[in-house]
Amino acid sequence: MNDTPRLELSDVHKSFGPKVVLNGLNLSLAKGESVVVIGGSGTGKSVLLKCILGLLQPERGSIRIDGEETVGLRGAARERVLTKFGMLFQSAALFDSLTIWENVAFGLIEGAGMEREKARAIAIDKLAKVGLDEDMAESDPSALSGGMRKRVGLARAIATEPDIIFFDEPTTGLDPIMGDVINKLITECVRDLGATTLTITHDMSSARTIADRVAMLYGGQIIWAGGVDEIDQCDNPFVDQFIHGREEGPFALDVT
């Protein structure tokens, strides 16, 4: 059996000037696994995703995807690796100049070179999977609510049926009901695709719904990782403070 991790990060360092964001981070995701990285604001969760995608270059460390080292990859080699990824951005990052179906089909048309008509049919199918009608396909993204934008972003992330999907704060800015809808859509879509997923969030409800395994990022490192069913029994004081949302605890929050 091939037990090469789908995604493996070893000793990853990333700084911005004097500010150290990732400080020797280690994380591994098995094929088909859903890992949620939790952590406070500004702890480097988004930086972690951007380093894996090559949007930021780590100063040190190794990032392996299906066993292939990807740090330093550029041009065509980077684009080849990116074909394995889908991503739902925090703000959905829909292209304002394109219609909704063109947004969903973008990776198929521009990335995979598929004909527009064929790509449109797939886009409509993916929109249906996230609960959006065909009637909306020709609309402008600016006409959508926050929840609908997330759904379109999710449809775009799964349109190319990638091996690995990243979700950046998928429920941030949504009401609890819409947040739950997005969590369920993520779970269903990922289960259908059999994809490996890495989600970053500080929404514990989202983490409990999506995750097989939860990892806590603090001080640029993963300070705790375990099954989602273990998190409530965890004796790590950082995790305990975070999941219960207490002000008192080891987190040095400057609120003055």
């Binding site: 991503m87 990776g107 521009e110």
Partner: protein, 258 residues
């Protein structure tokens, strides 16, 4: 205690760093121009946005510049009895200098600002990152169509501006200054040389390239939300206008230095 030398040094180093970043951005953009895939549809869209929709503002500018030029030259040349030189100076002044420079300045404000604001907003809303994750090179998809469209359409706009500007001078010449219509047109045509028009069109292509380059560069490097996009837009307009005036001198030197 502030050290004046340290301040000058920091300013100079920051200036050099900007030159370096701009050079790298230009290199990447030019490399993307000659590397497939080419987005022809986007190029045509940008040609419409940059060229066609700029026609009214460039045309109006040229019309009134030609008219004012005819009036001013008439008033000036009347001092030494050279009123008949009005059509000659209007046509040469417009085709060599005022047509390309004024069109460039108008486009720098209109197009440079629009490009910087659009790309800057895409940057701060993670749309540029989204493009990359969808295996699309932002330089090929966003920068190249704008660079090509601006470089190709600005000379066409300037050619139209030249014609409209000469017509502006002609209208003032025959209706206000009592020139004979046929004589005015004949003098304009006879005096004009191919090099006058060619140099203006080459300038226009250079200006178009610089406007799009500055818009894209500042848009791609914007940060910090709405304020950052606003700053990028201002920087794009100011830098493109300055570069137009500087490059105008060097292109003129290159054409007419003998």
């Amino acid at each position: 205690m502030y050290n004046p030398l340290a301040i000058v040094g920091r300013f100079f180093l920051a200036f050099l760093a900007t030159i370096g970043r701009l050079s790298m951005f230009t290199g990447k953009s030019l490399s993307a121009v000659v590397t497939p895939p080419f987005y022809w549809r986007l190029c045509l869209q940008q040609m419409m946005t940059i060229g066609y929709y700029s026609l009214p503002v460039v045309g109006l500018t040229a019309l009134f510049t030609g008219a004012v030029l005819a009036l001013q030259i008439y008033l000036g040349s009347a001092r030494f009895g050279a009123e008949s030189a009005v059509p000659n100076i209007v046509v040469v002044g417009l085709t060599r200098e005022l047509g390309p420079v004024l069109a460039g300045l108008m486009l720098g404000g209109r197009v440079g600002a629009a490009i910087a604001a659009e790309l800057g907003t895409m940057k701060v809303t993670e749309q540029l990152d989204a493009l990359i994750t969808l295996q699309t090179n932002p330089f090929r998809y966003l920068v190249v169509p704008r660079l090509v469209a601006a470089t190709v359409t600005t000379p066409i706009l300037v050619l139209i501006a030249d014609i409209i500007g000469v017509m502006g001078g002609y209208l003032v010449g025959i209706h206000r200054l009592n020139f004979n219509s046929a004589v005015y047109l004949k003098n304009s045509y006879d005096f004009l040389e191919a090099m006058d028009v060619t140099s203006g069109l080459v300038k226009a292509a250079v200006f178009g390239f610089l406007i799009a380059l500055m818009g894209c560069y500042h848009g791609f490097n914007s940060k910090g939300g709405a304020q950052g996009v606003g700053r990028a837009t201002t920087d794009a307009v100011v830098s493109s206008l300055i570069l137009i005036l500087i490059s105008n001198y060097f292109v003129t030197e290159a054409f007419f230095s003998q």
